[in-house]
Each structure stands twice: as structure tokens, then as C-alpha cells.
Amino acid sequence: MIVESRVLALPRANVDTDQVFPGKYLSLISREGFGEKLFEGMPGGRELLASKPGARIIVVGDNFGCGSSREHAVWALVDYGFKAIVAPSLARIFHENAYNNGLVPVIVRDPQAHAACLAAERLSIDVANETIRAEGCEIARFELDPLKKEFLLRGGFMEYLASKVDTVRAWTRRRVS
């Protein structure tokens, strides 16, 4: 699986999920059109999005997705069309939500490599081989969680847990005794 596209650069640290998807929309039952709300809570957010139509890769700053656990933040990014998010770090719950929704969470801790990703016009992210290329050259490597990488490539977080119900029940019987 390779994600290749223009890059939207958002070099800002600590962008919380209220900025990604404002709380006032959490009462929407239908998930349709979430992309239209993306970054509405961030000053200048919608203008930034409009500046890079067609971007499927977003490169963000440190600790992106902090705050509220709302999976809506990831749903809105995915609904807008993003396939991968590149960051020096992601907040824990956002990171998990990304894995569970097929948004590839690419952690690039090295400041120079991260800066190169921010500066790139286009990136190519090889999910299986965990590499990032720009203009044909490898500029960074990253590591995905070995278990959750399977969920990204083949889906199936829920199916995986569903398949473990008997294991869990057997474990609780041992636990009680």
C-alpha cells in the first residue's frame, strides 16, 4: 500500500481535537459531510485546507490530536480525503483512532526528516515497507505498531476483537476460580 499525493503542511504543535472538529458538531448523528467541518475550530483552518486541494497527506506538528477522545477528528480527516498523517508525535487516543480508521499514522521524530516532510510538495509513503520518499529519494523511515499495521493494511480491528470473545470468556473462568 502506497499513499502518494500533494502535501498539506500544518507546522503547528498541540492542535487539539476541538480545533480539528468543534464540539458543537458532536451531536450530529450521521457521519456524512464531516469533511466539511474539518479544522473549522482552528483559526485559519479552512483557508489552509483550501490552499492545497487534492492533498491526501497532511504533515502536522508535535502532539497533534490532543484533548478530547472524539473519533470524529479522524473521521473528518478521512472524510475530507486524507489517507496519511505525518507527525513528530500524536496524542495517544487520536493515534489509536487513526489506526482503527485506516488513516496511516506516520511518526517521524527526527526534526530534519520532519522538516523535509513539511517542505515537500509531494510525498510517497510506502506503508508496508515503512518508508517516505520525496522526488524519488527516501527521506525518512518510520515504524508502525506490528499488530495495528495489519489493521491498516487489511482492516479488521473489530473482527479481531470479535474473534477473541471465547478467549476472553475462558480467561474470566480461570480468573474467578
Binding site: L26, S27, S69, E71, N97, L147, F157, A162, T167, V168
Partner: protein, 453 residues
């Protein structure tokens, strides 16, 4: 001989169904909390894809908490989805009238058992770590996974001991300790860690204060916070609606008493704090790590973007900042002790700005009214509401307009958190109450003597 273990390791080991590839484990979940705002996507997944199958409905609890009562048709529909599902599937439901913020309601009903595991699709689930529980927020999909399988996948976090010695004094409260921890660690300094709180200061805190502290572990990016079980914990659990009674309670309590870190347990990191050095604290910026002493100034090295949003200049004394609204509420600071403390400041005084007091649960509300606190708040000119998350996440009963500045006993001061363009200063309930009286950020110590009837 077994190695010495941290408290977190004991809870982890007791719930580890099996290790999984990488750093992951399948962790059994004792209690899953589902609420109306972020629960319906999980309910929908379970109902449409898995025929409504639940691992064990008795391990679930459903709470109407975020927008109560519903403010429009959309929030009414969410509440209806929750209650219809709960009734159909035999899930314990706290509906409008006996509602509360779930992190307030769940402990007060005895639904968080010391040493247990809890998940909820809310980041402040870490509050329940006060009970020696491994309690953490998850997304709606992971919530659905726990509802279906009784377990979830967790990457084993590292453990940081946060050792707090001495006592809170000079007007500093558990909220100031929480803000102090976040400021010291930084807004993401706890990422990848469980914060295991220890030390004589923690032992001297009430359960409500421990909940306030653990509540804000997420604001340092931590997976959760956790406190050792002691006689304070056990005394809180005694007589709760879902606590065991009689002999069974004593047996349970004996087991709970083992929920402490072993002497000599090794930690991945340590933070040491002297509580005697903590002072009343207020945030000036746009994340909970950006705070300063109430008696201090906006720092000269403050982040420019945060200052621009907050419309503040470096060097400004915090106590000179004029306010448009005060709010006391939320899972951080809306328990009975918080309301008593705020009422003690407001007694015989009048608020100068719109002030909203929202109890954390209907049970807290009723207790406050038995004590006459509602009269104190209303005599002071504050609005006394029903229990809900309400204004804290900018959903109802006190949402800010652009440019409005609010001092708040809540947990987040993000841009737009309490309403688009609104500005939030986080502080303890007593500082919020004093500020409400003065119409600017203020300390209780600077108020003139109250006019008592």
C-alpha cells in the same frame, strides 16, 4: 521470589488476557461506560454489524451526561438512541433526572471498583484512576470493541511515579496540584506514561481531590493517572449503591488494600513535587500547561500564538485581567467538596459577572441543596443549574461568544473549547468564585469581608 511491582503493573497483570504482537496486550475490561454524545457510533456498530451482541451487559453502564436535558432535536435523538438501546439490551441506565457527568456519577454509585479496568469514549475517564483503577479514554470504535469482546488492545504504557511530598497550603488546592503537574511535565510530557501518584501529599487528599488530580493526567498527554488504595479509598467505597455489603465488603476491602506499589518497585521515570511550594494557579494560554501563579504575570516568554488568541500581553498581572463570565462545573471540579469551597467564598457576597454553577451530578445537586448551598449561590446572583457537562465542552448552559473571557473550574482552555472564539482561564473553584465577585481574576484573600444577613 516475585519482583517488586508498581501499582499499575499489579492492575495490568490482573487483567492481561494475553500478550499480543509488539508491545500490545489484550486487556480485560471490567466496566465500560457509554454516554449519549460519543456512545451512539459504538452502539450503531454493535447493532448493525454484530446483531447487538454484548460481552456482558452487566459490565456496561449508560449515562446521559454531556447535554442534559437535550438542547435540540439532534441531542434529543442521541439521548433517545442511548436509552432505547440500554433498555433493549438490559444495560443499567442513568437517564435525565438521575443523570450526572459520568466521571462523577460512576464513582458515587460505587461502579468503579478499586483495582478494576474501565474504558469510556471520553478522555477524562482517567479521573477514575483515583480508585487504583486502570481507567482510560478510547475512541468510539475501541469502545465498541470493548462492548463486544469484554476486552481491548492496549500498548503497555510506561509508568512515571509522580511523588508529591508535604501538604497543600496557602490556598493551593488539588486543582493547583493538577495544574502544577501539567505545567512541570508540559502539555505532552506524560505521553506514553501512566502517572502513578504517590507521597504523603496524595495520602492526605480526599477521594474527590484525588479525582481532580487524576482527571487532568490526560492534559499532560498521559494515558491515565492512578492512586494507591488506602483507608480513604475504602471508606469512600463503604455503603455505595453498588458496593458489596457486610462481610463481602470486608473481604473486598482486604483485597483492595493490596493495591499499592511494592517498596522498591522500579519506575520508567519520576517527577518529584513539593506540595508546599504550590500556589493558586491560573492558566493564561490555550492549553492547560500554560499557567502561572495567580499572583504573577503573563510570562515574558509566552507563546505568541496563544497570547494573540487570548488577547494578552506578556507581563500583564493575571489579577488585572477582566472577565465576562465565571463557570463552576465539570468532571474536574463539580463535586460536593468543590461546591462547598466555592460557596464559602460566595457566602454573603455578590457576583459582578454572569456566573454559572453546574453540579457534577443530580446526586451532588441534591446534597448541595440539603446543605443550602444553592441558596448561597443564588443569593450571590449566580445561576444554579442541573447537572451536565454543559458549558465545559461548549455544548450548552453557558457557551461563550467570540471574544468572551471566562474563568472556569474546568480542564481545558483550548481555542474554542467553550464556544468558538471564547477565551478560558482555568482555576480552582475558590479562585473562580473570588473572580466572579471581583469581575476580574482574583484571589479569595483580597475580598472584603462578606455582608452576612
Amino acid at each position: 521470589m516475585t519482583a517488586e511491582r508498581t501499582l499499575f503493573a499489579k492492575v495490568w497483570d490482573a487483567h492481561r488476557v494475553r500478550d499480543l504482537p509488539g508491545n500490545n496486550a489484550l486487556i480485560f475490561i471490567d466496566r465500560t461506560v457509554v454516554y449519549e454524545l460519543l456512545g451512539p457510533p459504538a452502539i450503531e456498530q454493535i447493532e448493525t454489524r454484530y446483531g447487538g451482541a454484548l460481552y456482558d451487559p452487566r459490565r456496561l453502564v449508560a449515562v446521559n451526561d454531556h447535554v442534559v436535558p437535550a438542547k435540540d432535536s439532534s441531542t434529543a435523538e442521541q439521548a433517545q438512541v442511548l436509552r432505547t438501546w440500554a433498555r433493549k439490551r438490559g444495560v443499567l441506565l442513568y437517564d435525565v433526572g438521575e443523570n450526572g457527568i459520568c466521571h462523577v456519577l460512576v464513582p458515587e454509585r460505587g461502579l468503579v471498583v478499586p483495582g478494576s479496568t474501565v474504558v469510556c469514549s471520553d478522555s477524562h475517564t482517567c479521573t477514575l484512576g483515583a480508585f487504583g483503577a486502570f481507567a482510560f479514554g478510547v475512541g468510539s470504535t475501541a469502545l465498541a470493541g470493548a462492548m463486544l469482546s469484554g476486552a481491548t488492545i492496549v500498548a503497555r504504557p510506561k509508568v512515571m511515579r509522580v511523588f508529591v511530598r508535604s501538604r497543600l497550603q496557602g490556598g493551593a488546592t488539588a486543582k493547583d496540584l493538577a495544574l502544577g503537574v501539567v505545567a512541570r511535565l508540559g502539555f505532552k510530557g506524560g505521553t506514553g506514561y501512566v502517572l502513578e501518584f504517590a507521597g504523603d501529599c496524595i495520602a492526605a487528599l480526599s477521594m474527590e481531590e484525588r479525582m481532580t488530580l487524576c482527571n487532568m493526567a490526560i492534559e499532560a498527554g498521559a494515558t491515565t493517572g492512578i492512586c494507591a488504595v488506602d483507608e480513604v479509598t475504602i471508606s469512600y467505597m463503604r455503603g455505595r449503591e453498588f458496593s458489596p455489603g457486610g462481610e463481602a465488603f470486608e473481604r473486598a476491602a482486604a483485597a483492595w488494600r493490596t493495591l499499592v506499589a511494592d517498596d522498591g518497585a522500579a519506575y520508567d521515570a519520576e517527577l518529584r513535587i513539593d506540595a508546599g511550594e504550590l500556589v493558586p494557579t491560573v492558566t493564561w494560554g490555550t492549553n492547560p500547561g500554560q499557567s502561572a501563579p495567580l499572583e504573577g504575570i503573563v510570562p515574558h516568554d509566552a507563546e505568541p500564538a496563544a497570547l494573540a488568541y487570548m488577547e494578552l500581553e506578556p507581563g500583564t498581572p493575571l489579577r488585572s485581567i477582566a472577565l465576562d463570565q465565571a463557570f463552576i462545573g465539570s468532571c474536574t471540579n463539580a463535586r460536593i467538596g468543590d461546591l462547598r469551597a466555592a460557596a464559602a467564598v460566595l457566602a454573603g457576597r455578590k457576583v459582578a459577572i454572569p456566573t454559572i454553577v453546574t453540579p457534577g451530578s443530580q446526586a451532588v445537586k441534591r446534597q448541595a441543596e440539603r446543605e443550602g448551598l444553592h441558596d448561597v449561590f443564588q443569593d450571590a446572583g449566580a445561576l444554579w443549574t442541573h447537572a451536565t457537562c454543559g458549558a465545559c465542552p461548549g455544548l450548552s448552559t453557558g457557551v461563550l461568544a467570540p471574544g468572551m473571557r471566562c474563568i472556569s473550574s474546568t480542564n481545558r482552555n483550548f481555542p474554542g473549547r467553550m464556544g468558538a472564539g471564547g477565551r478560558v482561564h482555568l482555576a480552582s473553584p475558590v479562585v473562580v468564585a473570588a473572580s466572579a465577585v471581583m469581575g476580574r481574576i482574583a484571589s479569595p484573600s483580597e475580598l472584603e469581608a462578606p455582608v452576612l444577613a
